[in-house]
């Protein structure tokens, strides 16, 4: 597989492609946080225990949009849907990540003015990959 930097992926939310501020997209696939602890076995032996903190298995998608009139409408639609938003991130090389049951969790501060940006953070199910 050819290795290509993911610099300009497409975001589709609820069947509508969204034009976002370049370099503002931040994705957490929801694979969570794992840790390993040492176990004292006695007699000089040591083994390890593996922990998977499923509390952190949450898919997160963050991005910024310019504060346009269309952005104001999108905010209301996304908030109204609760956690029934779907986000698809399609990167270079046809790699597709789909986040289901996403909720717009942040308090959206709609900045008004020239070239102002509004930040969005969605949280929901871990990503599903379609390659």
């Amino acid at each position: 597989m050819t290795q290509v930097a993911v610099v300009n992926p497409q975001i589709v939310i609820n069947n509508i492609a969204v034009g976002y501020v370049p370099n503002s997209l931040d994705v957490d696939f929801g694979l969570g946080e794992q840790s390993v602890k040492a176990l004292a076995g006695g007699g000089g032996t040591v083994s390890t225990a593996y922990f998977n903190n499923i509390e952190s298995n949450i898919g997160i998608v963050k991005f910024d949009l310019y504060s346009l009139n269309t952005t104001a409408i999108l905010i209301q639609d996304w908030k109204a849907l609760g956690n029934l938003n779907v986000i698809q991130v399609q990167g270079e090389g046809d790699t597709i990540f789909s986040f289901q049951f996403m909720a717009l969790t942040n308090r959206v501060d709609f900045m008004i003015g020239n070239e102002k940006q509004t930040s969005f953070e969605f949280q929901g199910n871990p990503a599903i990959t379609f390659a």
Partner: protein, 155 residues
């Protein structure tokens, strides 16, 4: 086409490949699209498409009639619009042969607008650019053909 209601207010068309659509928090896959009959709200978007289609049908009928005359066959049974556009794929072929390039672009754009305006649904969701862009050309042509045969010519 796999299902037709008696009143033909909508038809379900089989697609050759699966497409994905986002609905109620889920990413769904489907290989069917529902086409709804145009209503009064679609009148302005429909009129251009219908005019071009009907012109093409008229040309096709005239050509078929002329061919029959040359072949010295009975003129009593002149070809009708039903004979010219009885099948979806045949209807699109007829359109390609009898409409100009500019008219074909108008028809395709007009058909897309109709689909976006509630005439095209996948899994109950009105299609968008994102959904349409996943379709193969042959599927779009087949959908257009079904729309012509079921909703444009009979109306």
């Amino acid at each position: 086409m796999i299902d037709t209601k008696k009143d033909k207010s909508e038809i379900v068309v089989q697609l050759s490949d699966k497409i994905t659509v986002q609905k109620s928090g889920e990413q769904l896959f489907s290989n069917k699209m529902t086409l709804k009959a145009p209503s009064a709200v679609h009148m302005t978007k429909l009129c251009t498409v219908k005019q071009i289609v009907m012109r093409a049908v008229k040309t096709a009928i005239a050509e078929a009639t002329a061919t029959q005359a040359v072949q010295a066959k009975a003129i009593q049974s002149q070809p009708s619009s039903d004979a010219v556009v009885s099948d979806a794929d045949q209807a699109v072929l007829m359109l390609y042969m009898n409409a100009s390039s500019e008219d074909m672009i108008c028809v395709m754009n007009g058909f897309r607008e109709l689909l976006f305006d509630g005439c095209g649904l996948v899994e109950g969701v009105v299609v968008t650019d994102y959904v349409i862009n996943q379709l193969l050309v042959k599927d779009i042509e087949h959908l257009l053909g079904e729309y012509i045969v079921n909703f444009i010519v009979p109306s």
